[in-house]
């Protein structure tokens, strides 16, 4: 070819990008779908696409460091004799012993308790470590019923009936053989070392009418003391919230697709469910139409990272938020000081998501005793507590700037959107306009 003829720059396909090509090669080599942990990694409309307006002539701000701005929340005021009272509106999401080490579960309990909030069990039952260190513990009632027993149910401060989760609405749990240690196998009544795929449907109820009866049974067994949460993946938040209320839930938890999982198929995580931002307003609308907003509390989860995210979720109508992935990072997950070890696993700090393999150098998503020992539950718990307190301070800062004496007083009118998509999903005006897509304006 004549070197004097200019050549076009080699161009890679936007459709068949490097990641896509690598996935095709991986699938062709192994014959199995890609399994990983965490939530959706694709770019999605999110809380970053919203801004608070702050105070102006029409809004009177509160003094940033002096005037009171409440952060407490009471969950389960509808039917439970003993509602859950939290100092902050940020809870720790359900994560199982099995997917996480006992040290990590203990650290979550320590951090949450120090910050005045609750933590949550997961698909695998309640461990003494987390009950012992969690002042407020929510017990998940999952389709698999691994480790389920009435004693632990009664030890819990609240019960969360898990219908789905944001990373995989319609999918069951997955814990591969590498993480089925003797203790995990014993708690789940399974042979050691097998791939555990837990059910996606509850074994003894189907649909909202049955769920109502199931909730009634749980209340009977626990003397009507415990708040009953119903957790759904972000799929049909309007109908799911309405049906959860109809079924007798005290609290509805809506988890968007950025919410993490211990393990499932990549294709499930990235292609099923809705972004957290798109879930909140339909859920709030359902509560409002039923006259149950603030009576049945709404917890939102999936991609909550900082106090601004907390404030935005509350402004859109949530009563509290829940964090999982961010809590693990606070404990020490993805830390750059482990970069050499992440490299040996073929990944890099910040991208590590092979949580199902149990080789986590941070000692969090593992059942390897040597790796798990690396995590000091006391120090890690302190890091989580610090992080939760910072998030709370940030949310207060924003609330005061918008003239609110309690974070729950934040409202959609305090927000604008940076993109048309976010404006449509959050149903707040596009910045600089009064236009809410689908609702008129200009």
């Amino acid at each position: 070819m004549d070197p004097n003829i200019p050549r076009t720059t080699p161009r890679k396909s936007a459709t068949f990008d490097d990641y896509t090509l690598s996935e095709i090669r991986r699938a062709a080599t192994t014959g199995i779908y890609d399994i990983r942990g965490a939530g959706a990694k694709r770019k999605l409309p999110h809380f970053d696409d919203l801004l608070f307006l702050g105070a102006s002539i029409s809004r009177y701000p509160l003094e940033g460091y002096r005037e009171k701005c409440g952060t407490n929340v009471v969950l389960g005021t509808r039917f439970a004799k003993k509602p859950v009272e939290l100092k902050i509106p940020i809870t720790i999401a359900g994560m199982s012993f099995g997917s996480l080490s006992a040290q990590a579960k203990e650290a979550l309990g320590r951090g949450a308790s120090a910050a005045g909030t609750s933590t949550t069990t997961g698909d695998g039952g309640m461990t003494p470590e987390e009950r012992g260190q969690s002042k407020m513990l929510v017990y998940q009632y999952l389709p698999s019923r691994y480790g389920m027993n009435p004693d632990d149910l009664r030890k819990a401060d609240a019960i969360e009936v898990v219908v789905g989760q944001g990373a995989k609405p319609g999918g069951g749990g997955m814990l591969l053989g590498q993480k089925i240690s003797d203790r995990v196998a014993q708690m789940r009544c399974l042979p050691k070392g097998i791939d555990q795929r837990s059910a996606c449907r509850h074994p003894d109820w189907t649909g909202p009418d049955d769920l109502e009866i199931k909730i009634h049974e749980l209340r009977e067994i626990t003397a009507w003391e415990k708040p009953i949460y119903v957790k759904v993946g972000g799929a049909r938040p309007y109908y799911d919230t309405a049906l959860a209320v109809k079924s007798g839930a005290d609290v509805v938890v809506v988890d968007g697709m950025q919410g993490g999982t211990a393990a499932t198929q990549e294709v499930f995580i990235e292609h099923v469910g809705m972004p957290t931002l798109a879930c909140i307003r339909p859920a709030v609308k359902a509560l409002q139409e039923l006259g149950m907003h603030r009576k049945v509390q709404l917890i939102v989860s999936g991609g909550i990272r900082n106090g601004a995210d907390v404030a935005k979720a509350l402004a859109l109508g949530a009563d509290a938020v829940s964090i999982g992935t961010a809590a693990l990072v606070a404990l020490g997950d993805q830390d750059p000081h482990l970069e050499d070890e992440y490299q040996k696993l073929g990944t890099t700090a910040g991208a590590y998501d092979d949580w199902h393999e149990g080789r986590d150098p941070a000692g969090i998503t593992t059942q390897d005793p040597e790796l798990a020992k690396r995590l000091d539950p006391v120090k890690a718990g302190r890091r989580l507590s610090n992080y939760l307190k910072v998030m709370t301070l940030e949310a207060q800062t924003i609330a005061r700037a918008n003239g609110k004496s309690h974070v729950h007083n934040l409202e959609p009118e305090d927000l604008v959107a940076l993109t048309v998509e976010a404006a449509a999903m959050a149903q707040v005006p596009l910045a600089g306009t009064s236009w809410i897509p689908g609702k008129g304006g200009y």
Partner: protein, 227 residues
Amino acid sequence: MNELDLKKDGVTAINHRLHALPENTNERHWVIRNPMGQHAIACGLDGPLHVEVHGHVGFYCGGMNKDAEVIVHGHAGVGVAENLMSGLVWIKGNASESAGATGNGGLLVIDGDASSRCGISMKGIDIVVGGSVGHMSAFMAQRGNLVVCGDAGDALGDSIYEARLYVKGKVASLGADCIEKEMRDEHLADLSRLLAAAKRKDNPKDFRRYGSARKLYNFNVDHADAY
């Protein structure tokens, strides 16, 4: 013997009464009348009580019980003895779907038929059904024994783990990874014990045993069509 009238007192008051009994109570024998098919009757019991229910019960009767004996002189709704920990639940009539679901221990006896998903996700419970069971029974059954003196519906033992299934009659079809297995002396002894506990006269040698082929325990792409 103490009598409780569910029509008069309601489910919650009756359950509360049974839950509130002290561990060393000598009031162990209770009769519940007029159950009216109500749900969650005698669930969450925690102690060696003997409770007889005269009439039909709704969902989740005897759910999560420990140590107690619950005898239902009637039919039972969905999820009878769900997550039973120990003790006995005996249904003199038929049971609806998901009987004994996720049960960890104890014995569930159903004199009549049980509907679909009997013993789903069972984790150690023993279940003896005098009649037949519906489709998807013992789905993902992890541990324990399911004895069926009649027939079994489609997809028996789908995705089964280590539970043992004994069926006297016909099996419409087996689910993924469930196979017929050799009936050895230890199984005959186990089956004899279970039949005796359920006061059954059936001959253990008339039964066939089913369990896991264990081919789906760890993913193998060559078995993908079994999923």
